[in-house]
């Protein structure tokens, strides 16, 4: 007899199907859907195990996907959200630029103007050709340790244009013919990338992954035949579209609007304001995101590429849907994203830089879109998630003490707290909105073994998650420094001045910081979007951002607050002051909820809120709203709250 199953999954849905399955055998549809996902997983495993830089082989900052011959994203398994959702744009440019695709071809594509995310994401595209027909493209996109930028960082925040950014751009350039490298391209990269050995190893890993995808897809087509596979693809995309339609149909009809603001940085005193308008049309089963009301491109690397902006809106929508909808082009037919050419939010134009397109402003777009859904009322949407690409995610470089060989890579060591949802507290290993939960994290020991640095501490901080009925996820603090040779670090921490917001009465998460510690132990705060050269004996300390809370903290189950106190997610002080929970002590000296004192205290805190007139206090409003709540008033109340907190956020 076997053990119990070691896998857990959502419970069966009682809902009735929207429509009967189409012409294809329903069995075969299910079978082939599994098969495509399995191929993507095999590609992913190959790249993970063989990658050379820590950002690939520990953090898994890469994604594999399968796109159809007519540029529809078909399967992406657990790829990083921002990487995969726009994969079809890249294959479209491949077909346009290379109309004569042949077996054995491979293309290197990292051009954000042609559908890529940002310059540091090198994508290998392998067209899968059967009997002369281009049926699929196997895609492997990997963030490089270095991409030849003008400074040793893959995020050039202060680059005024692509020339200042400096990275080599490959606008879908052929890199293999007849399954062999085109050495001209390889030599260019080896010459202009700081760690050529690592780059080439990572390139091989990506090519290996794409080629494995090609091999398996050909086997699959060989087994089932082109007509069957074709009708499966059509069927599966239709099924996915129906699933999305059904999921959207459950939402109330509304037009939502929210905005958010990237922190000011030197040279950009107002930061970057982001506006999102969302039209939810449940009857038509469609959602439209309008990003057109946004500023023009800016002379910084913060501009968001089209692939990222489109992907960001889809991420926010998928995060807010109740159903588990397949992530492919079929489902996305139900989503429209409007972008204004020349705007910072997806309308990237020459010569502006999108070096940081995958994180900072994009994370503002995702956050404000998912928080806009809260305007549908309690039970919808998400708070804002921590989105700081700070010290815990810095790009670090230097040289190895003995060999003198250069090293450069990116930490995925820190952590932003996840947003609280209507159902649960924020996810702990959230990373950030654009790659939420999917990216892995570094091992301290493997980092110390691979690079000449030392991690001094790494811990999750008490009271860092935004308070709420559901609490935001915690932020991590990390301290590290070089061992014996100088180390340069680049960090890009947004959410230091405008922290992730809570919703419907929930509080904001903790803001990000960056602090340099000198040889004498003296700490000095540094600009959170910048770089530092650390000498041996010096350290840098950083905290990413905590997630925002959902709902009024005075409504949090006191027993949950007790557990949070025991687990040191919440301090005793915050339990009393923010959550209004009062504890006695049990025999072991551990806190137990004093229910009487707690309800007295909560009543007093509510009264104090009401008394505090003239202050714009979202929590107080939430309380008033809840006092006379009717189903009809529910959504309006949500609306007001969001309006409130936007006002509060405005400078």
């Amino acid at each position: 007899m076997s053990d119990r199953p070691l896998e857990s999954v959502p419970s069966p849905d009682e809902a009735t199907p929207i429509a009967a399955a189409g012409s294809l055998d329903p069995t075969l549809t299910a079978v082939l859907a599994h098969r495509f996902e399995a191929i993507v997983r095999e590609m992913t495993n190959t790249l993970f195990r063989t990658g050379r830089s820590s950002i690939l082989n520990m953090a898994r900052d890469f994604s594999c996907s399968i796109v159809t011959g007519d540029d529809q994203l078909l399967a992406a398994a657990e790829g990083l959200q921002v990487h995969v959702l726009g994969a079809g744009m890249q294959t479209a440019s491949m077909r346009r630029l290379h109309p004569d695709l042949r077996p054995g071809d491979a293309f290197l594509h990292n051009d954000p103007l042609l559908g890529n995310t940002h310059t540091a994401d090198h994508t290998i595209l392998v067209p899968v050709i059967v009997d002369g027909e281009h049926l699929f493209t196997a895609s492997a996109k990997a963030h490089q340790a270095d991409c030849g930028n003008s400074a040793p960082s893959t995020y050039m925040t202060y680059a005024e244009d692509v020339y200042a950014e400096g990275g080599l751009i490959f606008p879908c350039v052929q890199v293999q013919r007849d399954y062999r490298d085109i050495d001209d391209v390889i030599r260019m990269c080896r010459r202009r990338i700081r760690v050529p050995e690592v780059w080439y190893g990572d390139y091989l890993a990506a090519v290996g992954a794409a080629r494995i995808g090609e091999r398996r897809l050909k086997e699959l087509v060989g087994k089932y035949g082109v007509p069957t596979v074709r009708s499966f693809v059509a069927e599966w995309l239709d099924y996915s579209e129906r699933s999305m339609e059904h999921a959207i149909a459950k939402l109330p009809a509304r037009t939502l609007h929210a905005s958010s603001r990237h922190d000011p940085i030197p040279g950009l005193p107002g930061g970057v304001e982001v506006n999102v308008t969302i039209e939810v049309d449940p009857d038509a089963g469609r959602v439209r995101f309008d990003l057109r009301e946004n500023p023009d491109c800016i002379p910084f690397g913060l501009n968001v590429s089209r692939a990222c902006a489109t992907g960001g809106c889809i991420i926010a929508l998928l995060n807010c849907l109740e159903d588990d909808v397949p992530r492919n082009a079929g489902a996305f037919r139900r989503v429209e994203v409007l972008i204004r050419e020349g705007s910072v939010a997806g309308g990237l134009s020459e010569p502006y830089s999108a070096s940081v397109a995958t994180t900072n402003v994009l994370n503002r777009i995702i956050n404000c879109a998912q928080n806009a859904f809260c305007q549908l009322g309690d039970g919808y949407g998400l708070a804002e998630g921590g989105g700081a690409l700070g010290v815990g995610f810095a790009v670090f470089s230097g040289s190895h003490p003995r060999s003198g060989e250069p090293y450069v890579s990116e930490f995925v060591l820190g952590n932003n707290g996840g947003p609280a949802s209507p159902h649960c507290d924020g996810w702990v290993t959230y990373a950030m909105p654009d790659c939420a939960k999917t990216i892995y994290i570094d091992s301290v020991e493997m980092l110390e073994l691979t690079y000449p640095l030392q991690i001094r501490s790494l811990r999750m901080l008490t009271d860092s998650g935004g308070p709420g009925r559901l609490r935001g996820g915690p932020a991590a603090e990390v301290v590290y420094g070089p061992r014996s040779t100088p180390m340069r670090v680049f960090y890009m921490a947004d959410f230091a001045r405008n922290p992730p917001q809570g919703v419907l009465g929930g509080g904001a998460g903790r803001a990000a910081i960056a602090v340099v510690i000198d040889g004498g132990g003296v700490e000095s705060a540094v600009e959170p979007v910048g770089d530092s050269l650390l000498l041996p004996g010096e350290w840098i300390r950083g905290v990413e951002a905590g997630g925002g809370g959902y709902g009024d903290p005075l409504e949090r189950d006191p027993e949950q607050v007790r557990r949070d106190v025991l687990e040191r997610w919440v301090s005793l002080e915050a339990a009393a002051e923010t959550y209004g929970v009062v504890f006695g002590r049990d025999g072991q000296g551990l806190p137990v909820v004093d229910e009487q004192a707690t309800s007295t205290r909560r009543a007093a805190l509510r009264a104090a809120r009401r008394g505090a007139s003239g202050r714009c206090d979202a929590a107080a409003d939430a309380e008033c709203g809840h006092g006379s709540e009717t189903p009809a008033s529910r959504s309006t109340e949500g609306d007001q709250l969001i309006g409130m907190h936007i006002e509060r956020k405005a400078p």
Partner: protein, 710 residues
């Protein structure tokens, strides 16, 4: 209660003193027992597990076996020289959170190793499920001031006073066991050892685990997680294992008691009491041991895919080139958010798919099967125990693949009408006839198993089309042939002991102990002396282990040596065998390097000639051979002179044929060499084999079933 028959030898033992070997596998639902004797006679028995009193279920199964042998259980145990058992108790205790209240001592500054794990999630867009708790709560995690660096230098000495305070705090909080995992304890264990001594001083009697002793791997989460699980199991296993030993002794057993480990072998019971982590998933690890032996004897196959399908889970494991396949990534619970054992153990992938898996349609109208299971209670609708949702077993019954009057050897009657009623609404939603819907359910269930098999085989570079598929478990025979066809396997082997595969694997297992030691070097500047010293150290420890074994168990010792290797800048290793017991000179090094390039190309499709190769961990494994029963078949009752008993008939549905009349054979009535052509059923007490159209099933000379696709 279900009374289960045992299948067995016909005649009672001729020689009552003939020595026996007993293996048992105590699972969540059933306790399986296999008794083998030197004569080759093998007896199988099954009983329901008694969760509260594991020994009672075991005794029940033993009594059934003894009954079949027509002797009292005391006499059977009295003539048993070797008793091998495996138990899911450790696995279940972890899943049910009934392990000891355990604390973690860690390096100051790094308290969240168990909380964060290694990141990742299979559900990126799902915000409805809370982040799962760490294996040890933060409240019971204690930071100890100390720090050792990557080279083993002490950067900050262990602050004993502070450590003592933490221990007293742990005691005050009622901690019953302690795990110790400090950064770089693999490079220098001095602080972990000092903490161990302090625990013995301050908290005498509280069991503890030091991470570097349990599993000296780099990567703090893997070491910490293993140590945490191990420590948390110690109080339980220190009670449970001696109880079993005492219970057996009370009933006359005076031989050697060994227990299965997740390393695909057995170890003396005291080893398991000291390192209970090894017992986690140990039962399923024995299935490929059985598969390896049976496959080698029957077809000479060196690549074997072993499937074990029970009521609630489907386990798949692999024999590659005649060797078991190991992994360092055994998750308890869902990958990334469950808990990792971190051990190098037999790679057994488990998914929630089996006879009890429930079929449903999702909102988009797609048919899905499992992983929710009706379990044993209420069970499939056809059990008549209150289940109303359609399951794989119900579908099989609707298709006519199970004889409702002969389920589990007739011990349980199934309700065919209830199965049909449960399926009907689903069929309607799908717009299919009842039998077509039932067929679709089996096909979709198969697909999840095929994915699991594919993931395991492709990871190892094994081509299913060139492998033998071996099926075990109660539900194995229902769909193994279509699975084989999808995978491209032409041959399927179903051992006679399929229903008790793990217990049968125990019969074929050796004593296996594996030790590892870190020694980093590379192919460009290879550290011949250092490696020799490391291997010498391992050799001494393996010899010490061997010398502690009871004298009458020590057969031939076979030692194997491995090293974990990768290309420069990579961080994930491939385990590559050494020739002989070291790397003595340049030719030996060159051979090792070549073997790594080959392995890398086999698994990852690329090689990089000329690239520097890095070596990290050195591994020695000793395999102490135990005497095994000869691979004779189980004798069968009612053997017919012409080798072919008159078959019954029943109606069954096959996708390509529609509903047809097929023959039903009793397995015990088929003689060696008998051939059954599909479509047909072969009924065994523990399982039913569906011979699909286009397949022929042959009874081998060893009494197993070999199916071939035409």
């Amino acid at each position: 209660m279900i009374g289960l028959p045992s299948s067995t030898a016909g005649a009672p033992a001729q020689d009552s003193l003939e020595s026996a070997r007993i293996t048992c596998d105590i699972g969540g639902t059933f306790t399986d027992v296999v008794v083998s004797e030197l004569s080759g006679r093998t007896t199988l028995a099954k009983a329901l597990t008694a969760p509260a009193q594991l020994f009672d279920g075991l005794l029940e199964a033993l009594q059934r076996a003894a009954e079949s042998l027509a002797e009292p259980v005391e006499r059977l145990l009295g003539r048993t020289q070797l008793f091998i058992f495996s138990t899911t108790q450790a696995t279940n205790a972890i899943l049910e959170r009934t392990t000891a209240r355990t604390g973690l001592l860690c390096t100051a500054g790094f308290p969240d190793i168990l909380v964060r794990r290694e990141g990742g999630s299979l559900r990126p867009y799902d915000y409805s499920r809370a982040f799962p708790d760490p294996y040890i709560p933060r409240a019971l995690t204690f930071e100890v001031p100390e720090r050792i660096d990557v080279d083993g230098n002490v950067l900050c000495g262990l602050q004993e006073e502070a450590a003592r305070e933490r221990l007293l705090e742990a005691a005050r909080l009622g901690v019953e066991a302690l795990a110790v995992c400090l950064l770089w304890s693999t490079a220098n264990p001095v602080h972990e050892l000092a903490l161990g001594a302090l625990i013995e001083q301050e908290l005498p009697g509280v069991p503890y685990t030091l991470s570097h002793q349990l599993n000296p791997v780099v990567r703090e989460y893997r070491r910490a997680s293993g140590a945490a699980i191990d420590a948390s199991l110690k109080p339980l296993m220190q009670q449970h294992l001696p109880e079993i030993a005492a219970g057996l002794a009370r009933h006359g057993f005076a031989g050697e008691l060994l227990a299965a480990s997740s390393a695909g072998g057995v170890v003396p019971i005291w080893e398991l009491i000291e390192r209970p982590l090894w017992s986690v998933r140990s039962g399923p690890s024995l299935a490929p041991v059985a598969g390896r032996t049976v496959a080698a004897a029957e077809t000479g196959s060196r690549d074997v895919i072993v499937c074990d399908t029970g009521g609630t889970s489907f386990d798949v494991s692999l024999v590659r080139a005649g060797e078991l396949v190991f992994t360092r990534e055994t998750w308890l619970g869902e990958p990334f958010v469950g808990h990792l054992t971190g051990l190098s153990s037999v790679d057994v992938r488990s998914i929630g798919a089996g006879g009890g898996s429930i079929a449903w349609t999702d909102p988009g109208g797609l048919l899905r099967v499992g992983p929710q299971s009706a379990g044993a209670q209420p069970g499939p609708a056809c059990y008549g125990l209150g289940g109303t949702q359609p399951t794989v077993t119900d579908a099989a019954l609707v298709l006519g693949y199970i004889d409702p009057d002969n389920f589990l050897g007739g011990a349980m009657k199934l309700d065919a009408a209830a199965a049909a009623a449960a399926l009907a609404p689903l069929a309607e939603r799908l717009g299919l006839a009842l039998q077509q819907a039932a067929h679709a359910i089996l096909a979709v269930a198969n697909e999840r198993m095929i994915s699991a098999i594919n993931e395991l085989t492709v990871n190892e570079g094994v081509d299913p089309r060139e492998s033998l598929l071996l099926a075990g478990g109660g539900a194995a025979g229902l769909t193994i042939m279509p699975i084989a066809r999808e995978l491209g396997c032409r041959e399927v082997l179903i051992p006679r002991a399929a229903g008790v595969l793990s217990a049968y694997g125990g019969q074929q297992s050796d004593i296996v102990r594996e030790l590892t030691a870190p020694r980093a070097t590379n192919s460009r500047e290879f550290d011949y002396e250092g490696v020799a010293a490391t291997i010498d150290g391992l050799r001494g420890r393996l010899a010490a282990f061997e010398s502690e074994l009871p004298r009458d168990l020590i057969g031939e010792c076979e030692r194997q040596w491995f090293v974990e290797v990768r290309y420069a800048h990579q961080v994930w290793d491939l385990s590559v065998p050494l020739d002989g017991d070291g790397v003595a000179d340049e030719p030996a090094l060159a051979r090792l390097v070549e073997r790594f390039h080959d392995a890398h190309e086999r698994v990852f499709a690329v090689r990089e000639p000329g690239q520097t190769i890095q070596m990290s961990q050195w591994k020695g494994r000793t395999c102490v051979k135990t005497s095994k029963p000869p691979l004779r078949d189980l004798e069968r009752r009612d053997r017919c002179a012409d080798g072919r008993a008159p078959a019954e008939q029943r109606r069954a549905f096959f996708d390509e044929l529609g509903e047809v009349a097929i023959e039903v054979h009793r397995g015990g009535q088929l003689s060696d060499g008998a051939v059954v052509c599909g479509p047909a059923l072969v009924v065994e007490p523990e399982t039913t084999i569906v011979v699909y159209p286009g397949w022929r099933l042959r009874v081998t000379s060893l009494g197993n079933y070999l199916a071939e696709s035409e």
